[in-house]
Symmetry: C2
Subunit: 272 residues, 2 copies
């Protein structure tokens, strides 16, 4: 069995920990892998902890006790968060994005791993430590963002469907009123998808009146699930009063106007 | 400006490179970050290269020339690939997954970051070096897998819609015949989503007759796009002849029977 040098172990440790965010590895796992003493691996981890902190690359914690070990969690600081959101707003401000009906074309942003990866990390940072069991979204446009959030939290994603599909098996459905159009719509989720009493985090790309989010909250009641948070990428400034109270939007869309342009900016609440 | 020790630099380098797969970083970027000489950072990278190779953690390459630098790319070897796919097949074999119509419930797998992350890495490994510009999928169930593939390839994802949506702006549509049901369906994609002449990789969760994949291939012709590959998570054994010729499925679903159980296994073609 080969021996590894400290800097080799550190390179490998960082890779493995960061590839598996929020997963606890026992020290034994690494002592076996590197054929090294526990004290040696412990020292490696102390070094990694420090460098991650100093360079704002995330957090490495050691968890004591029998089921303990070491775990990496995503952490984005306020400055980096602001930079990411300002960058997205800048891209969004392009007048060419305006499509008939004062909508903004944004599929290229909300489907781009480069952006949703970072926004997923922001949500994971904001909703950390809440013992969330799964991320819930409704198809289609919020899926990439929700998946990236679930990915860094290392928990399953649940996708609510807007049509009843045979592949979902037995489903639970709910009727809800879209806050913007006033139309009654139905959403469906597989009965197997959510364990009763789960802690859930709702993630979506866009909130106007909040009717969809409200619908999801209602649907979660059917599973006795506790909504620990609602995160949306963009919420519109108007109507100010949404159909859900407690939500965090990363970006606020103030107005879309062919003449005056697009007013969009990061939500200051994110930086608190 | 603080100085960093070798093992600190290595920890940080691995984190930054692996967080940004397929992205080329100049050496200058790191010499500035670490306040270190170019030769020092070069040596760091040689060490990282070796450890990644030895422990099968991916590939680090240095690219020479003016636009050169260093880049991390995902690489999963045959043994790890087999282990991942066998693990998924084992989970899929659970008789409780059978739902009326001999369908298999698999949303919990295809939406779970734990699984799609790994399958995305397998696809990225198999389709590496093909200069792919974007990953294309059709809503809904294939999105997580397609996004994870796009994520490790560091390229955009394009989602084809099964309904025409106002938020997509001007769209291109195509009618196609579902190979399994024989029904005519329509798919839509935003005109802005794909640059003319792009190299695309099609990713989906499931293939029975291949009608959907065939539809996507036809739709890509409208953009003069070149289909560099088709990857699906699961294809059914029957019909053996699909409506597309060249595709790679990770897993083959042989039969679903309440009495005899579920026959499902990794596709040996993946390991070649």
């Amino acid at each position: 069995m080969s021996k590894y040098r400290r800097n080799e172990r550190i390179g490998a440790l960082v890779k493995i920990l960061c590839d598996n965010p929020n997963k606890i590895f026992t020290l034994n796992y690494f002592t076996n892998m590197f054929n090294a003493a526990k004290s040696t691996v412990s020292e490696d981890i102390v070094i990694i902890k420090k460098i991650m902190e100093n360079l704002n690359l995330g957090r490495v914690e050691t968890i004591p006790g029998a089921s303990g070990g070491v775990r990496y969690t995503t952490f984005i600081n306020v400055d980096d968060t602001r930079e990411i959101l300002l960058d997205i707003c800048k891209v969004m401000k392009d007048q060419n994005r305006i499509i008939p009906g004062s909508f903004l074309y944004m599929s290229d942003i909300i489907y781009n791993p480069k952006y949703v990866r970072k926004m997923g990390e922001i949500f994971a940072t904001k909703f950390a430590g809440q013992n969330i069991d799964c991320v819930v979204t409704v198809e289609t446009k919020g899926i990439p963002l929700a998946l990236m959030t679930a990915n860094v939290l290392n928990i399953p994603l649940v996708i609510i469907r807007s049509n009843n599909r045979v592949t979902e098996g037995s489903t639970v459905s709910i009727n809800y009123v879209s806050g913007s159009t006033g139309k009654i719509q139905t959403m469906y989720v597989s009965k197997r998808a959510i364990k009763n009493g789960s802690n859930v985090l709702i993630i979506d790309d866009f909130m106007r009146a909040g009717g969809t989010a409200r619908g999801i909250v209602e649907l979660m009641k059917e599973f006795d699930a506790k909504v620990k948070g609602i995160g949306v990428m963009i919420s519109t400034k108007e109507p100010e009063k949404k159909l859900v109270d407690d939500y965090l939007s990363l970006i606020i869309l103030d107005s879309v106007d062919v003449e005056r342009g697009i007013e969009i900016y990061p939500n200051e609440k994110v930086f608190k």
